[in-house]
Assembly symmetry: D5
C-alpha cells in the first residue's frame, strides 16, 4: 500500500553540532535500512529546499506512523502524508 510523503526539515541553528551530525548520520542509516527492506521505495530531494518527496510501501497506516515517528530528524520535520492507489492508466 503506497503513501506519498513530503518532509520539510528545519534543524534549529543552536543544536549542538555533534548532536546535529549524529542525528543526520542516524537518519541516513535509518532511511537506507528501510529502503533496503523495500518499505521506502523512493526518496528524492526537492531542488533548492531542505526537503524530500518520498513514497512508502507499507502494510498499514500504523506501520507508516511508526516509521515516520521514529525518524531521527522527526522532531525537526513537517511531514505531510497523502494516500495513493494504482492509476488506471499505469502500465505497471
Amino acid at each position: 500500500m503506497l503513501f506519498h510523503v513530503t518532509m520539510d526539515v528545519d534543524i534549529p541553528r543552536d543544536l549542538d553540532p555533534d548532536v546535529r551530525a549524529d542525528t543526520i548520520a542516524r537518519e541516513k542509516a535509518y532511511s537506507q535500512d528501510l529502503q533496503r527492506q523495500g518499505k521506502w521505495p523512493h526518496i528524492w530531494r526537492v531542488v533548492g529546499k531542505y526537503s524530500n518527496v518520498s513514497v512508502f510501501d507499507v502494510e498499514s497506516t500504523d506501520e507508516l506512523h511508526e516509521i515516520l515517528w521514529n525518524l531521527p530528524l522527526f522532531p525537526y520535520m513537517t511531514v505531510q502524508v497523502t494516500p495513493l492507489c494504482p492509476h488506471p492508466s499505469s502500465i505497471r
Copy 2:
C-alpha cells in the same frame, strides 16, 4: 532529469459525453506511450480525488512542457511542477 508533477482534473459537466470519452481514451493512450518510452516512469492516483501524482524523466524543461501542454486533458487540468534531484540518502 526528474520532475514531480501533480495533475488535478476538472472536466466540465457540460462537455459532450462522446468528446469526454474520447478525450479520456486519448489521454490514457498518450500516457501509456510515454510510460513505455520511460519518460513518465511513475503515475499514481491520489485517493479520493480526480488527481494524479507523477514523476517525469526528461532531457529538458522544454521537453517536459511539450509533453504536458499536449496532454489531451490539459485544458481541464491544474498542473504543478517541482524539480527533483537525487537524495544523498538514496541507495539507488
Copy 3:
C-alpha cells in the same frame, strides 16, 4: 485501517430536479449499505454546511478510493482524506 474523510457537497443549481433527488437517494442507500458492512463506521454533518466528516475502516487505500470514487455525489464533492492510526492515550 482507519481514514478520516471530509466531503463538501456542491450540487449545481441547474441539475435536473429528478436527477438530483435520485442521486441523493442513491447516495443515502450507498452510504447506509457501507455503514451496515462496518466500512463506514462514522458519519456526522458539519453544522451550517452541506458537508460531512466521516471515518472509514478499510483493508487498503485501493478499497477506500473505490468506495469514494463510486459515491453517487462524487462528481459534486470535494473530498479530503487523512490517514489515522491508534492514539497511545486511547482506552479502546
Copy 4:
C-alpha cells in the same frame, strides 16, 4: 452534543525533560479519565504528525471549553473546534 476537535502539539525543545514527561503523563491520565466518562468518545493519531483528531460529547460549549482549556498540553497546542450534528444518512 458532538464536537470535532483537532489538536496539533508543539512542545518547546527547551522544556525541562522532567516537566515534559510529567505533562505528557498528566495529559494521558486526563484524557483517559474523560474517555471513561464518555465525554471524549474518540481520539485518533494523525499519521506522520504530533496531532490528534477527536470527537467530544458534552452538555454545552462551556463544558467543552473547560475541558480543552485544562488539558495539560493546552499551552503547547493549536486547537480547532467544529460543531457536529447527526447526519441524515447515519444508521445509528
Copy 5:
C-alpha cells in the same frame, strides 16, 4: 449556548427576479421570527459586503443546524460557525 456565525451571500445573477425578491423577503421574515424568539440575538451587516455577522443562542448544535439549513438564502450562502462561551472578563 452561543454560536458566532458569519454568512456570506452570493445570489446568482440569473436567478429569476421574482424568485429573488421572494427569497429575500422570506429570509427577512424567517430571521425576524427567530430574533423575536430570542434564538438569533444579534445580526450585523459587514460594511462593504453582502455578509452578516450573527450570534445564535440555541439549545444544541442540532437546533443550530436546523435553523441554518432552512434559511431561505442558505443555497446561496457560505456559512462559518464558531462556538462561543462566556469570557472570564465579561461583566454580564
Copy 6:
C-alpha cells in the same frame, strides 16, 4: 458605531510570572471599565482558544485604536477589526 474585533492572545512562555499575572489582572480591569462605560458591549471566549470575539461601540476609528493600542495584553495579541453597521433584517 460598531466594530467587530477578534483578539488572539499569545503570551511568551518566558514572561516573568508576576508580570504575566499583573498584566492579565490589568487587562481584566481595563476591559471591565470599558464594558461599564458601554464602549465594549460584547466579549465572548472562542471555545478551545486563547481568543475572544468582541464588539466595540465607539465614536470614531481614533477612539477604537486608542482603546486597542492601550490594552495591557496588546503586545501579545493579534487583533483583527471589521466595521459593522445595522442589518436591514434586525428588529432592534
Copy 7:
C-alpha cells in the same frame, strides 16, 4: 473618519454591452460626485489589475456602507474595508 477600501472589479463577460457601458458611466459619475463632496478623497488604479485602492472620509460606518452598497458596479465587485486613523508620525 478615514477608511481604506480596495475594490476588485469582475464584470461578467455576458453582460449586455449597453448595460455594461451604462453601468461604467454611472459608476464614474457616482464616484466623481462623492469625490467633489470630499467623501472619497483618494482613488488610484492598481497597475495591471481592474482594481482600485481608495480612501473614504465619512461620518460613520453606516454612511460608508450606504456609499459602497450603492456603487453601480457593486454587484461585480469584491470590496475590502480597513479602518484607518492618524499616524503619530504624520505631519499633516
Copy 8:
C-alpha cells in the same frame, strides 16, 4: 510615480529599551523628513495594529527601495509594495 506600501512592524521583545526608543525616534524623524520633501505624501495607522498604510511619490523603483531599505525600523518590518497609477474616474 505613486506606490502603495504597507508596513507591519514587529519589534523583538528583547531589544534593548534604549535602542528601541532611539530607533522609533529616528524612524519618526526619517519619515517626517520624507513627508516634508513630498516623497511620502500619505501615512495612516491601521486601527488595532502596529502597521501603517502609506503612499510614496518617487522618481523610480530604485529611489523607493533606497527609502524603504534605510527605514530605521526596516529590520523589524514586513513591507508590501503595490504600484499605482491615476484612476480614470479621479477628478484630481
Copy 9:
C-alpha cells in the same frame, strides 16, 4: 525601470474559435512589437502552465498599466506586478 510581471491565462471554453485565434494572434504581435521596442525585454513560459513570467522596462507605472491593460488577452488574464531594482551583487 524594471517590473516583474506574471500573467496566468484562462480563456473561456465557449469563446468563439475565430475570436480566440484572432485574439491570440493579436497578443503575439502586440508582445513582439513591445519586445522589439525594448519595453518587454524578457518573456518565459512557465512549464506545465498557460502562464508567463515577464520583465518590463518602462518609464513609469502609468506606461506599464497602459501596456498591460491593452493586452488583447487582458480580459482573460490574472496579472501580478512586482517592482524590481538593481541587485547590489549584480555584475551588469
Copy 10:
C-alpha cells in the same frame, strides 16, 4: 535550461556581526562568479524586501540544486524554484 528562482533572506538578529558580514561578502563573490560563468544570468532586488528574483541557466536540476544548496546565505533563505521554457511569442 532556465529556472526562475526567488530567494527571501532572513538573517537571525543574533548572528555574530563578523560572521554576518563575512557570509554576505562570500555570498556576493559566489554569486558574481556564477554570473561571470553565465549560470546566473539575471538577479534583481525586489523593492522593499530582502529578497531577489533570479534566473539560472544550468545543465540539469542536479546542478541547480548544487548551486543553491551551497549559497553562503542558504541556511537563512527560503527558496522557490519554477522551471521555465521558451515562450512562443519571444523574439529571442
